[in-house]
Amino acid sequence: MTDVIVPQIAGGEPAYAAAHEEHGPTGLMKWITTTDHKVIGLSYMITSIVLFYIAGLLALGIRVQLTTPHGTFISFQQYNELFTMHGSIMLYLFAGPFAFGGLANYIVPLQIGAPDMAFPRLNALSYWLYLGGSIMMLLTFGVAGGAADFGWVAYAPLSTTTYTPGVGADMWIMALVLTGFSAIFTGVNLITTIFYLRAPGMTMFRMPIFTWNMLVTGILILIAFPVLTAALVMLFADRHFGAKIYAVTGCHTVAGAVDVHACGSAVLWQNLFWFFGHPEVYILALPFFGIVTEIFPVFSRKPVFGYKGMVFATMAIAALSTGVWAHHMFTTGTVLLPFFSLMSLLIAVPTGIKFFNWIGTMWRGQLVYTTAMLMSIGFLFAFLMGGVTGVMLASPPIDFFVHTTYFVVAHFHQVLFGTAVFAGFAGVYYWYPKMFGRMLNERLGKLHFWLLFAGFWVTFIPMYVLGLSGMPRRVASYPTGLGWHVWNDVSTVGSFMIAVSFLVLLVNFWVSWRYPVPAGDNPWDAHTLEWFTTSPPPHHNYTHLPLIRSERPTWDYNHPDAPTIRYDHGRGGHPNGHGPYSGGNGAGPSGHGDGAPGAAEQVPAT
């Protein structure tokens, strides 16, 4: 029987518990056949975190190899495979899917008061495609010739069959085709859900910033991922069907002259790849900006500062990010330096607005230093450092000097570590009580944070020094006498600190599973709609909804007498019946404090 939700006005409590019971399969079949966005979101998060640990282990292999000059821990071939797979798994299979597949899938429908995603079966298909792509990528370690070894960017002509023969590279391409489609479907699903399934009164400018950022991310996915998938298909055609799109070999005439019509363009790959690749960086950043923008207000006990500024800054970052792809290609000599330099520098402006708004949110707030808050503050420091060096790299004279050195490695690790790790795990600590109805241990969480925070700086700051002293990227070995040894040692120590910190996280999960501490519906006294329902939420999410009169309906419901600060709306008064919002309908929530739902509520029937 198809499940139809019919919200009605109801006078009493009973009957919805039965309507919300899930009648589907249980156990393993539940995970395999589910179309529930919460189960799919959890599957995404569990899979991506497992992949994060795998890619982390690969990173440790890289660091061990580089600890000593002339390292012999692994062969050069294995080293190439390690850094390629580390980058590929982290970027394609962890950071993106964790954010827009996992957290967004779970949280966005809850935040806008929707019963599920707009296309639940498409949502399930997205997850299974993603899992298939992940399995295919991991399987490449077992094939003849080993995994792909041309870097996560797969630059042509290195990625053509002349230089990278072997099945591993082909499977790498196909794995990314699968995950590319998965991402596109998720993007469509998120946008449709946000446009069509919002609760009454949840206008676009009352949506939580996290939902806004996921909407913008969805648009970016639709701009970027089709380009990647198309470029990969063309690469595959080059490799096996004799196409000459990127290939630069075999295009000489018998006499030895170059036949330009038989030649591809290797730089075309870079153009196509980075047209995906740079928006991808923001696909990996914007969701995490959204996470910390949920966390700062809650643990500062204030509404978010500059709501509309945040929304427009998100849009500006996304829009500009699509016009900067060639700043990765300054040294190719084929791109328009002033255009791309200017556009890249401009991104610092909306990002700066976000920073000021985050600081403004915390300013004179009552800060509560939970692990989620500490992780978010860690994100501020890490991302600021990565962002500032990004501004430096946007300047062609500096980029020409440090291109393909460890300076760039340090820069993008600080950016992505700030977003995907600090902000991503801030999200895990923040929403874990909602997902499982139990708390994570705060003491272990803080131990995790401080180990991670220290390890982060110890790992990546030496890389700036190494880059400025000329150590190139992607080298498996380096000679003695260049002063690189010490800094590499420091970096390796830092990377093991990070590894230990993530063991602490595993312990924390185990403690939470073995000795559960019930969380309650709203342990943080949070603002947004997802904290209104039970933890974990029932099938189809809500048995009733509060009146939505601001961007923090749960707070309004729980604190009917609290004065509401509005920085940017200019509409004074409390949203629940005392201000201009109350005009006409006279239906402010009633019965606060006794646990009864508000005047209007949503009751599903089947």
């Binding site: 198809t2 499940d3 919200p7 295919m136 009454p200 648009i219 919002y581």
Partner: protein
């Protein structure tokens, strides 16, 4: 619908401007083409939402002046909507379904066929066809809860 349409049309206009300025500063066709693609991505759905926005509002400039489809602003777009305003069928949501994983398994095998040999494509396409028939029949019939 108004904000949604403005949001998408804004994307289209922005990328239109960027595409034009990029073309006339670089004369590079690959990048320009992708920027034009992004422009279309904003304008086409934006125009669609704008169309529905006007139709909901009962604009006399649509449908030869017929305003019988006018429903006013949707409850989720109104500042003063109560939850009761959203009463009625929200949508129809499928129950659990085995077909998404089947379809993905078919796609997995089909893509492996490009790497390991054409015979795998037979398996992949068969599984995909079965899954497509299954998911379509399920849509018509209604899934198992």
């Amino acid at each position: 619908m108004k904000i949604e349409s403005r949001f998408l049309i804004g994307i289209g206009v922005f990328f239109g401007i960027i595409a034009i300025s990029y073309w006339f500063t670089s004369y590079e066709d690959g990048g320009t083409l992708m920027l034009v693609g992004a422009t279309t991505l904003g304008l086409v759905p934006g125009a669609y939402y704008f169309f529905w926005h006007r139709r909901f509002q009962g604009s006399k400039y649509f449908f030869w002046g017929r305003t019988d489809r006018a429903v006013g602003t949707r409850p989720e777009d109104r500042d003063d909507a109560t939850i009761a305003d959203g009463a009625g069928v929200v949508s129809s949501f499928p129950g659990s379904s085995i077909w998404p994983i089947t379809l993905a398994a078919g796609a997995f095998v089909l893509l492996l066929a490009f790497v390991f040999g054409t015979w795998l494509a037979l398996v992949g396409v068969s599984v995909i066809l079965i899954a497509l028939i299954g998911v379509t029949a399920e849509s018509r019939r209604g899934g198992r809860y």
